[in-house]
């Protein structure tokens, strides 16, 4: 299902060019609007469809297994942390669902470079560097003890 762009809706902002992992969304040299330069190489990841602020990108099904009349469209709402999906089938049935993107505010998760570099002795530890504090493993990783197993309280 390669993507295509509704030219009347695209404002040429370039967000789809920025996000496309295959680098096949480009800005057209005639109208300065985005377009898919190589539909055969599109792996239908929907990144550009979700990223487009104008909802100007759609995906076209291959005629052999997704004949004309169907539709799969998404709406990404960053502030809500959701992506809504609307699937329309040829016979008129519809499926609507919402999937979450995240549970914390954008920018609240520290990147790897923002942590201190691990020390050499940390290599001997079973823990990964900078395990999330939410795991609550300050006292060491959970382990099985034979005595507790015998008591049935492992």
């Amino acid at each position: 299902m390669p993507t295509f762009v509704y030219m009347t809706r695209c404002d040429g902002c370039g967000h789809c060019v920025d996000i496309c992992p295959s680098d096949i969304m480009h800005v057209d040299k005639t109208y300065r609007r985005a377009y898919n330069i190589e539909p055969n190489m599109c792996w239908e990841c929907y990144s550009c469809v979700k990223a487009c602020p104008q909802n100007a990108i759609d995906a076209r099904g291959y005629a052999d297994f997704a004949p004309l009349g169907h539709s799969v469209r998404t709406l990404r709402e960053e502030a809500k942390g959701t992506i809504s999906w609307r699937l329309k089938f040829r016979d008129g049935r519809e499926k609507n669902f919402v999937s979450p993107i995240r549970t914390t505010p954008w920018g609240s998760i520290k990147g790897p470079a923002e942590y201190e570099a691990p020390r050499a002795e940390d290599l001997a530890s079973q823990e990964l560097a900078h395990e999330p504090t939410s795991l609550k493993i300050e006292g060491g990783l959970p382990a099985l003890h034979s005595g507790r197993l015998r008591r049935g309280t492992a």
Binding site: T8, R9, D11, G12, C13, G14, H15, V17, D18, V27, D28, K29, T30, Y31, R32, P53, Q54, N55, S71, R73, T74, L75, E77, E78, A79, K80, G81, T82, S84, W85, R86, K88, N96, V98, R102, T104, P105, W106, G107
Partner: protein, 256 residues
């Protein structure tokens, strides 16, 4: 300089009737170019096909009053305030260029066709021209996606630049010509000739440039608002029933 009609001073060498005929010819070129563009690209057929499809599938059909209300919203938000832009810098540059172009063109027509005009029109001609230059060169060197997002040189020219470049050339050369003419420079004739060439390219290149966007963009914005109001939403899902709590991480695109 800012209070004199540059076209009145020009009438000593170019007959007013020739100037008026040129303005009419440019208007005819724009109308003919737009009609050709609509027929050639099938944009009107596409618009009306979408319109019929949207009406057929409407979940809540719209009455005349609702359509009039949507038309007013489109005119105010999408056209007069360039509401479709998600990038604030692009929106400001577009507003400067759009209103500058309108002021410049309207004052040009008034000054060419009217013998006795108030001082306001030459002022508007200069103000409009300077607004076009401010918005246009800001867009050209810093904002357009080729430069800002793709890291290309601002001097790389392609067909998509035909409208922007011919508009900037026309207004720049027009202001330089008026300045030189007001100061009695002999080079004014050269700049006037270049001004006419750039202006002719701007208005005669409608079928090959993005000049026609000022006609099809409002139509597309109207169609989008109608589809949201009648429930079809161009097959898009409705907004999620969740509170806004995470802010936004969207940054300006930068591909290099």
């Amino acid at each position: 300089m800012f209070t004199t009609n540059p076209f009145a001073a020009l009438s000593a060498t170019v007959p007013p009737v020739a100037m008026r005929a040129y303005v009419v010819a440019m208007i005819v070129l724009v109308v003919a170019g737009t009609l050709f563009d609509i027929v050639h690209k099938g944009s009107a057929r596409y618009f009306f096909d979408n319109w019929r499809r949207s009406r057929t599938r409407a979940r809540s059909p719209l009455g005349g009053g609702e359509l009039a209300s949507i038309a007013i919203q489109t005119a105010v938000v999408d056209v007069l305030a360039s509401g479709e832009f998600c990038n604030a810098r692009r929106r400001i540059a577009h507003l400067l260029t759009m209103y500058g172009f309108v002021l410049h063109v309207v004052s040009t027509v008034v000054m060419v066709f009217s013998n006795s005009i108030s001082d306001v029109w030459p002022h508007l001609w200069w103000v409009g021209g300077l607004m076009v230059l401010a918005g246009g060169y800001w867009f050209w060197f810093f904002i357009r996606v080729d430069v800002a997002a793709e890291g290309n040189s601002p001097w790389r020219v392609m067909r998509a630049d035909l409208f922007s470049l011919s508009l900037l050339a026309s207004v720049t050369l027009g202001l330089v010509w008026a300045f030189l003419q007001a100061n009695g420079s002999g080079a004014a004739v050269v700049f006037f000739a270049l001004y006419i060439v750039a202006t002719t390219v701007l208005f005669a290149s409608v079928p090959w440039s993005k000049f026609a966007h000022m006609f099809f963009k409002p139509a597309a914005a109207f169609e989008k608002r109608v589809s949201y109001a009648n429930g079809t939403r161009a097959n898009l899902p409705g907004p999620a029933d969740k509170p806004e709590q995470f802010g936004s991480a969207r940054t300006a695109p930068r591909h290099y």
